[in-house]
């Protein structure tokens, strides 16, 4: 039993952080989110060359063949720098193909995801935002050996960047008769709409599917039986997003601690006042606690999958509550400059708001944990 990171994992963290400090510091991030296409294609290709886009994709398919602990390290660092990229989305799309695809599907999709020539995202939720099978109403009808999907998908990350969407839809009347398919952005009947997002380091949008034809080779896993796969994908999303949240929370805590050391009022640094330093201490307690839960959840994805639902929910529940508070308190501890566009605290505040409902909000995960204990 060991809770530490290996030397290789530590090295990965150091090199990711070094690269992001140099190439994706906050001024870069602000440039990207203020310009329209945002991050350049060349930069995205560079991330591919660094191996970040295929971290868990097997080497035979052009990836690095690492695991979820390494992904967690990567996402903590991209979260720390608020990197506005489709990394999370494309990782989840490739994870779905890796976990549920046939050998043919893996060979067809994974290399292009690892080298960055294609970007994927996932389309699970619908306008109701409810993460239960009955809330999935987009419907696939059998059409010979094909399927035709009608419906609407919401809250899709990186809608503007993704070339395809791993999409969940209903293929039967029973609650859990859910299927997963790869829907090409360019297919007839696919309409995408970008919706401005409160957190401009994240992009978001909707997908309308008007009788989109799905070939058998685009179906992921057996038809009607994909709900467990959807749940696992959501757990993976929760773990990855929580890792980003840890990085972001640490970054905004560091900024605020520094501010508390520098800003002088009543003849002393404001960090001298317990009304300032105690909330900062509480943030540290919460961030460390989230890390403990997160690392266990990340390890469980490969090391103990039966425990993943519980641990991803524990981590996301704790993190949703805590990062929300951290975002708010850090802005407040800056006084009026915290309320300005110029000061960075607001960027993290918005990220904390993005994180709160993503991949299940606190209540969703609390309900799930209660159910796992037989309480309902």
């Amino acid at each position: 039993m060991n809770f530490g990171f290996t030397e290789e994992q530590q090295f990965l963290r150091d090199s990711v952080r070094k690269f992001l400090d140099e190439r994706a510091s906050i001024p870069h991030v602000r440039n990207w989110i203020e310009s329209d296409p945002g991050m350049s294609l060349e930069f995205w290709r560079e991330l591919a060359e660094l191996g970040w886009l295929g971290l868990t994709i097997p080497e035979t398919h052009g990836g690095a063949g690492l695991g979820w602990v390494e992904l967690t390290v990567l996402f903590e660092e991209t979260g720390r720098s608020l990197l506005p990229s489709p990394l999370l989305s494309t990782t989840l799309a490739s994870t779905a193909i890796l976990d549920h695809g046939t050998p043919d599907q893996r060979s067809r999709w994974l290399p292009s995801l690892a080298d960055g020539s294609r970007v994927g995202s996932i389309a699970i939720l619908e306008p109701s935002d409810h993460l239960v099978p009955s809330a999935l109403q987009a419907r696939g009808e059998a059409d010979g050996s094909h399927w035709r999907i009608h419906g609407e998908k919401s809250f899709i990350c990186d809608i503007d960047r993704a070339d395809f969407f791993v999409t969940a839809f209903r293929t039967g009347e029973n609650d859990e008769e859910i299927s997963l398919a790869i829907v090409d952005r360019g297919a007839p009947g696919v309409h995408t709409e970008k919706v401005p997002c409160l957190d401009s380091t994240k992009s978001m949008g909707r997908l309308k599917l008007d009788g989109v034809q799905i070939a058998p080779e685009a179906m992921l896993g057996a038809p009607h039986q994909a709900w467990p796969a959807v749940e696992r994908l959501m757990d993976q999303g929760a773990v990855a997003a929580t890792a980003e949240a840890v990085g972001s929370a640490e970054a905004v805590l560091a900024i605020t601690v520094q501010y508390a050391k520098d800003r002088v009022q009543f003849g002393q640094p404001i960090g001298h006042f317990q009304g300032v330093k105690h909330p900062l201490a509480e943030m540290h307690v919460d961030i460390e606690s989230i890390k403990s839960l997160l690392y266990y959840a990340a390890w469980s994805l490969e090391g103990s999958p039966a425990e993943t639902p519980r641990y991803s929910s524990l981590a996301k529940l704790y993190a949703s509550d805590a990062f929300t508070r951290i975002g708010v308190d850090c802005v407040q501890l800056h006084g009026a400059v915290g309320y300005t566009m110029e000061y960075d605290a607001q960027l993290y505040l918005k990220r904390s708001k993005w994180f709160r409902p993503m991949f299940g909000d606190a209540d969703h995960h609390a309900d799930r944990l209660a159910a796992l204990r037989g309480l309902r």
Partner: protein, 377 residues
């Protein structure tokens, strides 16, 4: 990052389970003195009291991970504690191992492990609580004896203990931290008077202790003169670990969930209310975070770091948790919570445990100042 048990750890866990099968009958009562005696004898034979202590000090030289496994398994089966002298085993013993002379170790450790000595801790004084380093209880060296005069207060179990591990001021002119020394003093020494103080539940758990020219041989000094603060920093960290163990909170949560399932609120079990279930889930998240924080800190210690400020994290988590859990139990019980019972006792006792070992504000100061580097008060 690997939470699988190693083959050795798995073997050790099986050994613990076999031990429990053999020595912990389902109907064992933690109050039954005969059972407790045979339980402690069996533990001693295994050297599982003082499990992680070096062999030459009477321990089993168990690894920290094995110790974690041992405690988890014991807790899962609701076993009585590993040894009866909590303070002695949790911080006095480790302080002796770290700072004691060979003679002192030989003199104190065997009794500690056998449970025949019992220890209390003399830090706080009437005018010196949170600001512990300003303590004034005076010890003056005369020949090969110290003469101790002054007071200690809130001394848990002083009315039962045979020994007190205490901090005294030996040099009033040295800087605050430098003038402090640790002494190990028999409670039956002439000149010691103990006055019990009932707590708000009416129970006597702590005391005021008066020292009037108490003679303490210089051999009973732990560490060098003036090194008492150093000795005690580690002891305080061990205390925070000892009083913030997650196993105790998981047990508390199990009982609370049982209460929520069975107690009726407005004609339905309390657990039918989704807000109750969500509060329970949030407790679970924090308790599991405490457990994994413990494990993470242990992993860091395997790399060589000693327990220190990070132990304040779980002390803070525990304090808030215990409060919120107690509040929920009383809310669920409603008026029935006014009738004498374990939930009521737990809710009242919280007011002591939140302060003992250092108040939450002091823990926040430790985190803010020593970990985040913010200015000192």
């Amino acid at each position: 990052m690997n939470f699988d048990l190693s083959p050795d750890e798995t073997a050790f866990r099986s050994e613990v389970r076999r031990f429990l099968d053999k020595h912990l009958p389902d109907d064992a009562s933690h109050e039954d003195p005969d059972f407790l005696e045979s339980w402690h004898a069996a533990l001693r034979e295994k050297r599982w009291i003082g499990f992680a202590w070096p062999e030459e000090d009477g321990g089993a030289a168990g690894t920290l991970m094995e110790q974690f496994i041992l405690k988890q398994e014991m807790a899962t089966r609701n076993a009585p504690p590993l040894g009866s002298d909590f303070m002695g085993l949790t911080w006095v013993g480790p302080a002796l191992i770290a700072h004691g002379t060979p003679e002192q170790k030989a003199r104190f450790l065997p009794d500690l492990l056998a449970g025949t000595s019992s220890w209390c801790t003399g830090y706080s004084e009437p005018d010196h609580g949170s600001d512990l380093a300003s303590l004034q209880c005076r010890a003056v060296l005369e020949g090969d004896e110290y003469r101790v005069t002054g007071q200690k207060i809130w001394t848990t179990l002083a009315h039962e203990a045979k020994w007190i591990y205490m901090m005294v001021r030996t040099d009033p002119d040295a800087r605050k931290y430098r003038g402090i020394t640790c002494l190990l003093v028999p409670m039956n020494s002439p000149g010691i008077e103990v006055r019990p103080i009932p707590n708000l539940s009416g129970v006597t758990s702590f005391n005021q202790v008066f020292f009037d020219n108490v003679r303490v041989p210089v051999d009973n000094r732990l560490g060098e003169e003036g090194q008492g603060w150093l000795v005690t920093m580690a002891a305080l960290a061990n205390e925070r670990i000892g009083i913030s163990e997650s196993t105790e909170k998981s047990d508390h949560l199990d009982r609370l969930i049982e209460l929520a399932r069975t107690a009726q609120r407005k004609g339905k079990p309390a657990s039918a209310d989704p807000t109750v279930r969500r509060r329970l889930a949030r407790f679970e998240a924090r308790i599991e975070a405490m457990r994994l924080n413990e494990l993470r800190h242990l992993s860091a210690r395997l790399e060589g770091s000693a327990p220190s400020s990070e132990t304040s994290l779980n002390k803070l988590l525990r304090g808030e948790l215990e409060f919120e859990m107690s509040e929920l139990s009383l809310e669920i019980l409603g008026t029935a919570g006014l009738e004498e019972g374990p939930w009521q006792r737990a809710a009242l006792n919280w007011h002591g445990t939140i302060i003992g070992g250092g108040s939450p504000n002091i823990q926040r100061n430790i985190v803010a100042e020593r970990i985040l580097g913010l200015p000192k008060d």
